[in-house]
């Protein structure tokens, strides 16, 4: 795969897996209104995934459309970062994941919206509005839970602790990313880190929470080295298309 196809695939996989994770809350959220908030974000992510995976398939030109890439690849072919595949846990853990990822995604799409490659820029320009809301919503919940009751605070802290090891991977640059930048579609992710740190720290301060201590980062998602959680997610998500290939309704 060339750099642009891989870049589109990574963006699509991040959105697809996060969307599936958020969708797992459907019917189970703490309140009906929160159920809708999570489902709305899930659908935004699935929409972004559809665009980026379709683009990846088109650039690759091997006859694979978005559905083929979503439902007929195995776990080691997925290129999402490890953060988005982490289990939902309790509501605070899900909010922690959403908070950390949405701010990254928002910064990324802000830059990508002005990319020279119009295909990437167009998807990013639409998605940036969606992710702005996701970042706000997740931040509000971090503040509420962090600066809430003793129990909500403990849960929010535990959620951030769980997710923190997977933060560094979002900003890692490799040869594919460099080639994508040269081809007019990529974003220097490492350069987003300072602003991401500032945004996260500002919200954590309002939430009266400390940044979790730095740990050895866990990497490998972009190369297909995933946690055991992704296999379970895929078996659920891909079941229907695997059992009845090409089924539509």
């Amino acid at each position: 795969m060339d750099a642009l196809a891989t870049t589109a695939l990574r963006l699509g996989d991040d959105a697809l897996i996060l969307g599936q994770r958020l969708g797992e809350w459907c019917g189970r959220a703490p309140a009906l209104e929160v159920d809708l908030s999570l489902a709305n974000m899930a659908l935004d992510q699935i929409g972004q995934a559809t665009h980026f995976l379709a683009l990846a398939g088109a650039i690759e030109a091997q006859g694979r459309d978005a559905d083929a890439l979503a439902f007929h690849r195995d776990v080691m072919d997925f290129t999402n970062c490890l953060l988005v595949e982490q289990p939902n846990g309790d509501f605070a853990q899900t909010i922690a994941r959403q908070f950390l990822y949405a701010h990254y995604q928002h910064l990324l799409f802000e830059r990508m919206a002005t990319a020279r490659d119009a295909r990437f820029a167009a998807i990013a320009a639409k998605a940036v509005k969606e992710t702005a809301y996701h970042a706000t919503l997740a931040s509000d919940w971090v503040i509420r839970l962090g600066d809430g009751t003793e129990e909500s605070r403990a849960r929010m802290r535990a959620g951030l602790d769980w997710m923190w090891r997977f933060v560094d991977e979002m900003f890692v640059m490799d040869e594919t990313d460099d080639d994508a930048i040269n081809a007019g579609a990529g974003v220097d992710k490492a350069a987003l880190r300072a602003e991401w740190d500032a945004r996260i720290d500002a919200i954590l301060a309002q939430a009266t929470l400390q940044r979790p201590p730095s740990r050895r980062p866990v990497l490998g998602g972009r190369q297909g080295r995933h946690s055991e959680h992704l296999g379970h997610l895929l078996s659920d998500m891909q079941f229907l298309q695997r059992a009845y290939p090409g089924a539509t309704w």
């Binding site: 209104e33 929160v34 908030s37 919503l137």
Partner: protein, 97 residues
């Protein structure tokens, strides 16, 4: 039964469909405060492009008329048709009135 005192309070949601129209009552949401109420209203009532603006008001802040007084309040208007502006001739050229 869940403990009603631990439920988030109720908020009434008003949605402006598009610029120039007035806000209309859309329904209600539960939320801990006004910020959360707006987010819940956005996620519950504007998912299908229904709105360009939202109002939320604590349901407890609404004072409603007493249904038992409906006759005294509203029935007297029934036979006062002269209050409708239907006795005026509208000039031909005016189409939007």
């Amino acid at each position: 039964m869940s403990d009603a005192s631990k439920e988030w309070p109720l908020w009434e949601v008003f949605v402006r469909g598009k610029g120039g129209l007035s806000h209309r009552h859309a329904g209600s949401v539960h939320a801990a405060d006004a910020t959360m109420a707006l987010e819940h209203a956005r996620d519950t009532y504007t998912r299908r492009m229904e709105g360009v603006s939202l109002w939320v008001i604590p349901s407890a802040q609404i004072t409603a008329s007493d249904p038992g007084q409906a006759d005294a309040l509203f029935a007297p208007a029934e036979d006062k048709i002269y209050r409708h502006p239907t006795f005026y001739k509208i000039p031909d050229g005016i189409t939007h009135i």
